[in-house]
């Protein structure tokens, strides 16, 4: 055989490998094909292709694996079992940008299903490699790495702690300053996932100066970014009074009230959640929010949305009213009671009704004046009716009982 024929044979093989891997990747991106691919045993075929010499084949194989793992739980477990992860992670350091993106995509797809899979990713040293990727120049790589870290940190506190221990937080805060919006979004969402578990993690995030950067991004026109920013701020402030105070000191509040009229409903919901978490702690914090006109905005927000989106707003009114009778009066004056009674009559889900009832109870509990307001809104018969209703849940009944007692005592 001549040299040319030998080389031709190799080239043909390479071409067919590349074609196969590209086809599989395209097929895998459509969910209906994945079952059949799985039955055809695509996992064991893709695994040697991941170790291929040609970088583009590796990359495309990684992409295909990512799509497969993304789709279902057991495929992700199969990825872990086949020991593909260590190789992926070791090559994360060395290869080119598209490979890094594909590898980060695979890690993300594996980690998103359950804590055990995330633990497997962490155990192979995935977190350190991803943190190294976070300091890469290419924004696409940063985005993919941050997303993967976010999914790992989402599940529980120990995984978040391992992410933090690898030094991810300063890098994520740097990512917040990137010009590209997508990177900012993902960095904010990852910070939000890290902060949500324990106060210590939130404290670590705050100490790296994240709040100032997050506060600057509040008036950004991009809706998805705003969602993540507000979610991150609310996760930080929910843990303790000092953290909530730090969030307030960043002077977000008059600006955040504007975002309650944003076009995107999830931005509005997250702003409301942030307000609720801040208001929970002390009367002074509630005072700050009432003083910047938050009550009116929240009551209007409750009027504009439906269903589960109302829940943070309702709870926020309840928390504010619970602190003191002056704040409860402020809630009443902001037309809170008619709005809450509307919510009570319109909503069908029990937990929302329970929350509404609790809020009404908090408003009316302080003095006979307050109770009178609640009574004149014709809420007492409704509360009784809810209590008598046999199909309402235990929680709802318990929540109804205490306010009604208080009201009746005052009347």
């Amino acid at each position: 055989m001549s040299q040319r024929q030998i080389i031709q044979a190799f080239e043909q093989y390479q071409k067919s490998r590349l074609q196969f891997v590209q086809t599989v990747s395209d097929l895998a991106s459509r969910p209906q094909n994945i079952e059949m691919l799985q039955n055809a045993g695509v996992m064991s075929l893709l695994r040697p292709l991941m170790l291929d010499v040609v970088p583009s084949i590796q990359q495309t194989a990684a992409l295909a694996l990512g799509h497969l793992a993304d789709h279902s739980d057991d495929l992700a477990e199969a990825v872990v079992k086949e020991d593909i992860l260590p190789h992926l992670i070791s090559s994360l350091a060395s290869q080119n940008n598209s490979y890094k993106k594909a590898a980060a995509f695979v890690l993300r797809a594996v980690a998103k299903h359950s804590p055990e899979l995330s633990q497997a990713v962490v155990a192979c040293g995935g977190v350190d490699a991803l943190v190294v990727c976070l300091s890469d120049f290419d924004p696409g790589v940063k985005e993919a790495a941050a997303w993967a870290l976010g999914f790992i940190a989402r599940h529980n506190a120990s995984l978040s702690q391992s992410v933090v221990d690898a030094g991810a937080i300063p890098q994520l805060v740097m990512c917040l300053l990137e010009p590209k919006v997508t990177v900012k979004r993902i960095a904010a969402s990852t910070l939000s996932d890290i902060c949500k578990h324990t106060p210590e993690l939130a404290q670590t995030v705050v100490e790296s100066g994240a709040i100032a950067h997050l506060a600057q991004m509040i008036l950004n026109p991009d809706a998805k970014l705003k969602r993540q920013v507000f979610s991150a701020l609310s996760q930080i402030s929910k843990h303790s009074i000092s953290l909530a105070e730090m969030v307030i000191e960043a002077e977000i509040f008059p600006a955040a009230v504007v975002c309650l009229r944003d076009q995107d409903e999830f931005v509005r919901k997250n702003v409301c959640t942030l307000m609720r978490e801040v208001v929970k702690h002390t009367p002074e914090l509630s005072q700050v929010i009432v003083n910047c006109g938050g009550m009116a905005a929240v009551v209007d927000y409750l009027g504009n949305c439906q269903g589960n989106l109302r829940l943070p707003g309702i709870m926020m009114l309840g928390y504010v009213a619970a602190h003191s009778e002056k704040l409860a009066m402020a809630v009443i004056l902001s037309k809170g009671v008619p709005q809450l009674s509307l919510c009570l009559s319109e909503e069908t889900e029990h937990h929302i009704k329970a929350a509404t009832v609790w809020s009404i109870g908090q408003i009316g509990q302080h003095t006979p004046e307050h109770a009178k307001v609640v009574a004149t809104a014709n809420l007492l018969p409704k509360l009784l009716e809810l209590y008598m209703d046999a199909c309402s849940s235990e929680d709802l009944q318990a929540k109804v009982r205490s306010p009604t007692q208080i009201k009746i005592r005052y009347d």
Binding site: V257, L260, R261, D262, V290, G293, A296, A297, L333, S334
Partner: protein, 331 residues
């Protein structure tokens, strides 16, 4: 002797008597001793008793006097204390009155200030109103912005479409799709097509786009956005640097270069034209004069075809002819 005997018997009797008495006395001695002792002790007891009662009485007197003394002193002390306590009560009562007034004043003024609370709640209401109004305005603004953006996007899309479908423009011969004869006025697309100046696609097709002459309202409404769109130019000056120069091998004729048979054809065809036009006596001469005047007319051919000779006179400038001839000689 008898008396002696009597005395003797008396002595015997006497001795018997003495013995008897002695025996009696002996018998009674103890009893009498006991009695005497008893009497004596009783007497002594009486004496002692009298003494003791005397002592008691005296002691009682002393104690009585002492107790009276002590009690009076104590009483004096009690009176003093009671007086003191009464004074203190009085003072305290007065102090309580002062404190009560003060506390009421202080609490009403500083802690639970009713008017401050009222003012605060009114302030909250007013603030709420302001915030509601501001938020409404902002929302309105945002909505308008969004609508504007959408309109601009729509408009740019339409312009792009017009740019790409220049071939649908209606000509004199053949009315286009957007200009059907049975409608009183052409469709807006037709207007757009007419406005969009056609340019043959250059290599940088998306960059060097068309110039739109006099674009309608979106350009006026939202200047900052339209700068990004390549197809709408509000100023002509920014257009020219973007155009590529026309290719050198263009088929435009310069100046007066005419094809060989053209002049001959003109001369030949001319009599036909004059025949068509009118039949005046000197018409031939007039026509020939006219022909000579229109000498540099390469438009002449076209004018023959369209039947309009006169309107092209303005285009014949001497400068044009002279430069053309000059170039010819230089070449």
């Amino acid at each position: 002797m008898a008396e002696l005997m009597k005395i003797e018997t008396q002595v015997e009797l006497f001795i018997e008597e003495i013995l008897h008495r002695h025996n009696q006395a002996e018998e009674n001695r103890k009893r009498e001793n006991q009695a005497a002792i008893r009497i004596q002790s009783w007497f002594r007891a009486c004496r002692v008793r009298a003494y003791l009662s005397h002592l008691h009485k005296k002691a009682v007197i002393i104690q009585k006097i002492w107790r009276g003394f002590t009690a009076r002193a104590r009483f004096r002390q009690m009176v003093k204390e009671a007086y003191f306590i009464m004074k203190m009560n009085f003072y305290e009562e007065m102090a309580v009155r002062i404190q009560r007034r003060w506390r009421g004043f202080f609490v009403r003024k500083y802690t639970h200030n009713f008017y401050a609370r009222k003012r605060y709640l009114r302030g909250v209401l007013v603030n709420n109103e302001f915030v509601r109004r501001d938020l409404d305005e902002l929302e309105e603004l945002q909505r308008r912005e969004k609508n504007c953006l959408e309109l601009v996007k729509e408009q740019t899309a339409k312009v792009y479409l017009a740019h790409r479908s220049h071939h649908l423009l209606s000509t004199k011969q053949c009315p286009g799709v957007f200009n059907p004869p049975f409608k009183p006025a052409p469709h807006e697309m037709e207007q757009l097509l007419r406005q969009v100046k056609y340019q043959p696609p250059t290599r940088l097709a998306p960059g060097g786009g068309t110039r739109v002459l006099g674009m309608p309202s979106p350009a006026a409404l939202s200047v900052p956005w339209t700068r990004e769109s390549p197809w709408i130019k509000t100023r002509r000056s920014c257009c020219s640097p973007r155009f590529t120069l026309p290719p050198i091998a263009s088929k435009k004729q310069q100046g007066l270069l005419r094809e060989p048979g053209e002049v001959w054809e003109q001369h030949v065809n001319c009599p036909d034209l004059t025949l068509r036009l009118q039949t005046s006596y000197t018409h031939l001469e007039e026509a020939q004069n006219h022909l000579q005047q229109l000498q540099p007319a390469k438009f002449y051919r076209r004018t023959i075809r369209t039947g309009n000779m006169l309107h092209n006179q303005g285009l014949n400038s001497d400068a044009f002819t002279k430069t053309a001839y000059a170039k010819k000689f230089i070449l």
